[in-house]
Structures are given as structure tokens and as C-alpha cells.
Amino acid sequence: MHDPTPPNTPPRRIGAWSLIIGIVVIVAIAFGYVGGWLAPHRLTPKKLVNQLQHDAGTFAGYRRNHAKGVCVVGHFDSSGQAQTYSVAQVFAPGQRTPVVGRFAIPSGNPYAPDSSVPIRSMALRFALANGQQWRTGMNSMPVFPVATPQAFYAQLQAKQPDPVTGKPDPAKIAAFFAAHPETAAFRAWAKTARPSASFATESYWSLNAFVFVDAAGRRQPVRWRMVPEASDAGVARTPGGADYLAADLTERLARGPQRWQLQVTLANPGDPTNDATKTWPDDRRTIDAGTLVLERSAPQASGPCRDINYDPLVLPAGIEASDDPLLPARSAAYADSYLRRTSEEAHLPGTTAPKPETSR
């Protein structure tokens, strides 16, 4: 039964061993390439978030961008008008959907003065009755400076503070703008924009395009914006101090709910859906999808918005992503930022625990 001569002579063994090792190594290299470890030039979510930290500093427990903000709670009352274009339950006639939101200002620095930027942001999470969710993050300007994640990354790099002066290098910023003419519309807006005295008086634009899907499966590219009912203070008043926005909001909400109309603009065929630096012509049809009613606010350190990742690609049936390249980059980078701050929240090894803080 036992053959005394070993059948595997040394040369064949060497061939077989090389084959085995070769296969294992090739699979491992392929994995390393796909996973980015062997493709250092690929723009990854990590790189984007690291660059945000290089620009603004690292603040444990906080969002890596739009770090300074405040939670709000309320609901959305659907007018039923958007139902023609989207089967999302949130648009059913008479439907009321609970909302947890967050107002904020851009920058990863949670101590930035409210007057440091003319931009405010509104993020919302609609919890639909069917268990699906719609999350959206909007900014108070009609166009975005750049159209691609690569350009966004280049802009962040240009704005990184110089280690000597501690301030961004104006020459680098100028060079970035010169190399990116698509920023012109945003710069024109920024020239006249003034930091508002209130979150409640601002309009907030989705900027990115999305696609509404109706009951027959027809697809309609859209953008939306929240248009405020309040218009009093506007930009005229020059508020004192660095932290007036949250206080203003609390004060207004104490007097009564604050309202916005959700206006959905329908693209015509050929309108760009992949370029957030371009507005659509003014004559595009706009429908009034319903009313956002915000009833109360809460500090973000303890409020219900703290642990929500306002990932713009958490969408219900009836709303889909467009081909806008910023959308997947946002989704990926928000996930990375969310993991960093929840890891800090969890005091995981290798992370800095968040400072006990009231104004987070």
C-alpha cells in the first residue's frame, strides 16, 4: 500500500511552491490595490477628512466640517404637490413627517465666530412613517465653488494655514482660483454676501441635483431649497459677540415655530445635474412641496442631532442620487468623519476623548 519512493521530486516541488506563493501574493497585491494601500494617488475619504483637519484643526467629538452648530426639532407638512413627481411617502398629501435637524456654519473649528463666514447650513433628517429616511444637508448659497471632489480637495489644500504665519497663504488661494474658473459664480455671490444675524432668515439650497421617481418609474432631475418665512433682521444688523446665532434661534423659537417652504425646482432636459457650480435658468418650474416647521432647539452636545450623520445619500424610495460627483464623495467623507467622532465619543484607544463642553 505504501509506495516507498517519494513522488514529488524536488524540481516539481519548487515549481508547485512558486505557483502557490505566486497566487497568494497576486491576490494579496490585488487586495492592496483595490483597498488603496498600493494606490497612494487615489483620492480617498480619509485624505479629504485629514485635509479638513489640517485646515481647521482637530476637535475631538466634533464634526470635521460644519463643527459649530445647534440641534432643532420639528416636522414637515406635505402639500401633496411633489407627489406627482416622487413616490416618497414624505410627499403624500397631508402627510406630517417628524424632523431632527441641525443649523451650523462651515469650518471644522467649533469655536469659529459666527461672523467669520457668510454661509450658514441646514441639515435635516426626515423619519418617514414607513421607516425609511431622507437626510439632506443644505447651504445658504445658490452655487457651490467647485464641481468635483478633486477640486474640493485642491481648494482645501490651498486654504491650509501656513505653518509660519498661521494663516492661509493668499498667493496659494489666488493660484487655486486662477486654475479653477468654475469658482467664478460662487465668488461673485461671496463678494456681496454678508454673515446673517439669524439662521431663521436664510434660504438653504440643496446645490447638488437629485432625481425624483414617480409611481410609473419616470425620473425627474430636481434641486430643492428651503425658503424662510421670516425675513426681518436679514443681513443689516451687525450682531455683537462671536456666538449670536444659537441665541437668536432660541429666542425666536421661544416666540413661536419657525417655518420654511420646501421649493423643488424641476430641471429641463439638458440642464446640468453633475455641476453644482451652475444654477439652472430662472424660468424652471418650481413646486411648493410643503412646509418645514421647527419648534425647538437644543445644544448639539446633548441634542438629538449629535449622533446623526447627515449623509445626503440616505434617501427614501422616490428620491435618488443624480450623477453629481460631489454626492458620493460627500457620503464617503461624512461616513469617515462620523466614524472619527463616534470613536472619540466611545473613548476608543488611539482617539482623544471629547472635552466636556456645553456649546458643542
Binding site: 500500500m1 505504501h2 509506495d3 516507498p4 517519494p6 513522488p7 514529488n8 516541488r13 508547485a16 511552491w17 505557483l19 502557490i20 506563493i21 497566487i23 497568494v24 491576490v27 494579496a28 490585488a30 487586495f31 483595490v34 483597498g35 488603496g36 494606490a39 487615489r42 483620492l43 480617498t44 475619504p45 479629504l48 414607513n130 421607516g131 425609511q132 429616511q133 471632489p149 449629535r306 449622533d307 446623526i308 450623520n309 449623509d311 445619500l313 440616505v314 427614501p316 424610495a317 435618488e320 442620487a321 450623477d323 460627483p325 454626492l327 458620493p328 464623495a329 457620503s331 464617503a332 467623507a333 461616513a335 462620523y338 466614524l339 463616534t342 470613536s343 465619543e345 466611545a346 476608543l348
Partner: protein, 204 residues
């Protein structure tokens, strides 16, 4: 029926190769999607979640098959350490193919995300919302994925070692019954083969 079969059952073999493709694909999809900001992140994630849940369902079936039908014995002359390594790595693979999808599902639940497998198909949460649990589970999802990949590499290397170097019928035990067996047909019968295959001279 013989007491000691020389192959895995048809169900076990089918599940093995189907799931091998699915699991290896999931590992590549997983590391690929988190390393890009392009649209790949979205469509890979859209495949990742339903495919992962499919793996969970198949893994449960597979475990039942495994418990009902013990596998063919390893060659009698296989060194004890290699036997132990084979046994340990197989159970580690079973554990990880069940744990990975459960962790994926639990971490999305803990993160407060709706667990969507398609445009409107939603799974219920299996974990209470908690940022701390999210962070722990999300890191565990990565760590176990890396462990799964390394175990798979070792497993594939060991299978090839059995097939190309020891030629002891272990590799063939996971192949279709019709495939040529190294012992039967004029190919050289080697010492290592004899231990396993002579034990089971039946036709199936």
C-alpha cells in the same frame, strides 16, 4: 453508503464554491468602496449590503449542512499541527462568515441608519441606536474583514498545497464527484494519497 466518504456532500461543495466567490467579492467590494470618493462608493455599497445579507442566510444553511454531514476525514498521516490548523481555520471561517454580516447590520442599526437593501426594502434594526456601539462595531467590521482575508489567503494556500504538493485528495474532496481523482486512473499514486482515498473506494 460507505461510512467514510471521500468528498463533501453535493450541498456542501455547492455552498462552498458559491460562497467562496461571494465572500471574496465582498472583501474586495468592501475595501474598494471605502477607499474611493467616486460613484463607485455608492454602487458598491448598494451591492455590499444585500450581498452581505445573502451570505448570512447561506452561512446559516451551510452551518446546518456541516453539522448534519461531517466532512471526510483528513489524511491519517497529516501532521497533528496541520490538522489542528485546518480545523481551527475552518471554524474561524464559519464564525467570520456569520459574524461579518451580523456586525454590518448591527453597526448600521447602532448608527441610526435605516438598513436599506434596495430602493425600498428595509431590514429592521437589530441593535439600539448608540454612537459608542456604532464606533466599536464599525472598527470590528474592518478588523474581522482583515482577519477573514488573511484566513482566506492561508486557506487558499493550504488547499493548493494539498492539491499540488501533498496530492492527498483533500483538494479533490471539494471538487465535483466526476472530476478525475489522483488515485484512480493510472496517475501516480503517491504515498500521501493512499492514506485518505483508500479508505473510501465507493462510487457515488
Amino acid at each position: 453508503m460507505n461510512a467514510t466518504p471521500d468528498r463533501f456532500t453535493l450541498a456542501a461543495r455547492t455552498l462552498h464554491w458559491l460562497m467562496a466567490v461571494m465572500i471574496v467579492a465582498m472583501l474586495f467590494i468592501g475595501v474598494g468602496m471605502v477607499a474611493t470618493v467616486s460613484a463607485r462608493h455608492e454602487w458598491l455599497l448598494a451591492i455590499h449590503k444585500p450581498l452581505g445579507i445573502a451570505i448570512l442566510l447561506l452561512a446559516v444553511i451551510r452551518l446546518a449542512v456541516r453539522l448534519r454531514h461531517p466532512p471526510p476525514p483528513l489524511p491519517a498521516d497529516l501532521p497533528a499541527l496541520q490538522k489542528l490548523a485546518a480545523l481551527a481555520s475552518h471554524w474561524l471561517l464559519y464564525f467570520l462568515m456569520l459574524a461579518m454580516p451580523l456586525i454590518g447590520w448591527a453597526m448600521l442599526s447602532a448608527g441610526g441608519y435605516p438598513v436599506m437593501l434596495g430602493d425600498s426594502l428595509r431590514l429592521p434594526p437589530i441593535f439600539p441606536t448608540s454612537p459608542v456601539a456604532f464606533a466599536v462595531l464599525r472598527h470590528l467590521h474592518t478588523a474581522f474583514a482583515m482577519l477573514l482575508f488573511l484566513t482566506f489567503l492561508a486557506h487558499m494556500g493550504a488547499a493548493l498545497y494539498h492539491g499540488l504538493i501533498r496530492r492527498d485528495g483533500v483538494f479533490a474532496s471539494m471538487l465535483p464527484a466526476a472530476s478525475p481523482r489522483v488515485d484512480g486512473d493510472g496517475e501516480e499514486v503517491d504515498a500521501d494519497n493512499a492514506g485518505r482515498l483508500s479508505a473510501a473506494p465507493q462510487d457515488d
